[in-house]
Symmetry: D2
Subunit: 284 residues, 4 copies
Amino acid sequence: MTTSAILLISAPDKKGLVFTLTQFIYEHGGNILHAEQHIDEENPFFFMRIEWDLTHFDVPRELILSALEPIQNDWNMDITLSFSDTPTRVALFVSKQDHCLADLLNRVHHQNLNMTIPLIISNHRDHEALARFYDIEYHHFPMLSDNKHDVESKQLGLLNEQHIDLVVLARYMQVLSDDFVAHFPHQIINVHHSFLPAFVGANPYAQAYARGVKLIGSTAHFVTPVLDDGPIIAQHVINVSHKDSLSSFIQKGKELEKQVLTDAVKKYTEHKILVFKNQTVVFD
Amino acid sequence: MTTSAILLISAPDKKGLVFTLTQFIYEHGGNILHAEQHIDEENPFFFMRIEWDLTHFDVPRELILSALEPIQNDWNMDITLSFSDTPTRVALFVSKQDHCLADLLNRVHHQNLNMTIPLIISNHRDHEALARFYDIEYHHFPMLSDNKHDVESKQLGLLNEQHIDLVVLARYMQVLSDDFVAHFPHQIINVHHSFLPAFVGANPYAQAYARGVKLIGSTAHFVTPVLDDGPIIAQHVINVSHKDSLSSFIQKGKELEKQVLTDAVKKYTEHKILVFKNQTVVFD
Amino acid sequence: MTTSAILLISAPDKKGLVFTLTQFIYEHGGNILHAEQHIDEENPFFFMRIEWDLTHFDVPRELILSALEPIQNDWNMDITLSFSDTPTRVALFVSKQDHCLADLLNRVHHQNLNMTIPLIISNHRDHEALARFYDIEYHHFPMLSDNKHDVESKQLGLLNEQHIDLVVLARYMQVLSDDFVAHFPHQIINVHHSFLPAFVGANPYAQAYARGVKLIGSTAHFVTPVLDDGPIIAQHVINVSHKDSLSSFIQKGKELEKQVLTDAVKKYTEHKILVFKNQTVVFD
Amino acid sequence: MTTSAILLISAPDKKGLVFTLTQFIYEHGGNILHAEQHIDEENPFFFMRIEWDLTHFDVPRELILSALEPIQNDWNMDITLSFSDTPTRVALFVSKQDHCLADLLNRVHHQNLNMTIPLIISNHRDHEALARFYDIEYHHFPMLSDNKHDVESKQLGLLNEQHIDLVVLARYMQVLSDDFVAHFPHQIINVHHSFLPAFVGANPYAQAYARGVKLIGSTAHFVTPVLDDGPIIAQHVINVSHKDSLSSFIQKGKELEKQVLTDAVKKYTEHKILVFKNQTVVFD
């Protein structure tokens, strides 16, 4: 496997953008492996993911960003640089239910996802054995009526120590404070157990069951200060019918939650998600 | 093709219901072709669709309902009786957009649906040529600010004259009055261009586009006095992405609308839908 | 939870079958919870699954089959009787790949499937730790060129000892002998990693990749003496494109294999599968 | 709407390809609207679709290909150039069944597809009225045992006269000669009523029904001299069960055929399909 560099770029759309970027890569000896772009015509805004082979690239990886600085300034670009040999560092937050947690741990164990999990954080002790099985740090923070600020500040400490890139709320039943969220802008992925924006808030399956829907859904989205309102990354649905009880809604829903959260996390670790105006560009 | 009778039954659940019904059919010489049942365990309530061959059945079809009366009274049943050789009589209501209209007309023409369309009603003249091509009466009722009551009463007159069983709102952009709806309880099917209950009301595609969803949906439901709140019959969804514009949302949505409306109408004409507490039982 | 009895019935179709069965249940005080039937019109043949509450049923469960004998003989019925409180006893056979094994073990652990797993059999030692984690017997039978007959006879011994109802080949890469298969008629479920009958035999993903298909599939079926030809229980597919490599075909395929095998095993443990002429009736 | 130019490019993969192409477009004043690329890593081969706004492009459209010639020669490119304001000219071939024909005509009529249909060719007279309704030439060529060569040569004459870009076999039940196919390399799209390569040849639904499959499929592919073996463009499937008869397989299949053929034709008219080694690259 060759190592590649991946640029995620957002910029106001202007003639010559693609040319300028490909020129930079070509003149330094890079071979483009993948390139995807999108133009939001209303605004108009330009988005690109470009990945190139580093084998004969003549800029050392720690100098690439500074080498790009003139281009970045000229075109007013927002740039993120990643490397294919550097797995995303992910912290998992979980409460009582473990289906998403178990699924993600199993996939990382089988190396299906380009990520490592330095730590798991929970408001319950339930999953300590599972964490030990996979040899992952487990931090238990019981939530009391008045310790939220304190708990979050300790959690932020752990995340910083471990250089966490992404926080995944794998069915974490606590609302994060705005301050916490502000530390990880578009770096916290939540799975909501409905087809948002239907059934915002608590007990979405019970709401869906009462309404007599014929499909239930699940949504993975970035967390923002407004509850269940962040940029949507992925949504899945499954058929239900009069034969389904509320408990089978929940059972089927768990499958969706696993799938949709895995999909979103996978895209993140492949550096394929860009955010613009509370929406996402998710490259294939 | 043999002719069959179809009973749709709702009743409070009690031991012996299935036995009593199958005894009635068996003792009169009927051979059961299909039988499906559902028990709502919460209430508890019993639902059944039972279809039997009339070839050797010794009760003339016009006397079946009265022959069933003792059973019906004993078990407090709600009963509907239909015959496989009697197509459902459907009135189509349509405004400007014709994709659902054209699709239904084409399917009826190819005999894919067990129904006839005695008339089309529209607040526009646009589809007169299409109606003529299929040799169907077309009634144009322009909507003015003050003629709704008058127009609806003429429409009800036409529906009665033609012994209409089902009204299908194939993208009809007028809200029917409560009085009109009361004449056709659970006999009016509407297609709403969203995954209800998300995006109730006007411009659901624009709402969905603004929210950045990754799936759009369409819902066929019975019309009740509360807007977009009637019992849901069928729902379909399709993937969308950042590559889709509002106009491609609408384009994809039209495909969904055709599919979901056809599905719902087909189930109705097969006598497979029962309504209970603002929800539907839709047999396979 | 009440305990219920479940009958699976196949018989030549004749007027009065449903009546006779429901009479039997009613007269002995049973309340029917679910009833599904199917008539194969070509043959014609009748299939039914009927489930009733045992709370007030006046035939002790060990005498139900003999009480049914007269009906069974009169109507030439094939009958299977099960009870909702008696989990299916399943043996898992597995080779090197563990995705189906891990998924089934996890689901049984979370009580999503009404089954117990008394033992795992493998031609490799790889999954002993996993078996130990779930506290399940693990039997290792290395396959040599000349020990197949011997190994199978020991395996049959273990299956008999443990009163196994169903053998699940969870990616087991050995072909079972006709003799072995004959001991478990329609009681061995295999998952084949293609959309059968496309790509029978070895390396189906490589075959599919070479053909340039746009969907890949997976099939769960009963094992019969003819390779990959037994009655199909469930099939799933997923989209692929030019962007997929052979290894991503395999990766996506593993997800399908898990889903389709779980689906089939779930249906079996719910006593919803009947076999007729190398095809299955799978009730909802 | 601005007019754009679209290049479809295939070439042996080499560093600098994207740079060279984007340089050409940039230096002549073009603004790239869409760019998608794919690298087949095994061969390795490069594929690209690039679309740019012609508003300020300084090469007249009839000179673009010759302006590109030096690049084309240097990089050994295979190039196709199209313009967004020039609809694809499509000839429809059809036999008795009209579901695909009616669907395509309706979509073109509603301007959902960027194509015109100068003529319809059929071995039956059945669809003359429909053709007349849409004001399209209809050519009837009855097939006799010995007139195939003669008929095909007349058909080729018509296709040439009308400058046909694409032939669509919308359920055309005649096998085209190798000579005919050679005149339209990767320009003839057929819809096969199975999930290829399962059920090649005649009566695929009957084959699928006999096998007891749980999904049926439909495949749109380019026609090559080997029957049902050409590059696959799109495949769709739908669930079937024991409840389906052969006739409902066929009915459901018709829906798939319409969808999959429309999908493939749409991609063709958007200039999104490239062929390589009997496989397709189909850009989103």
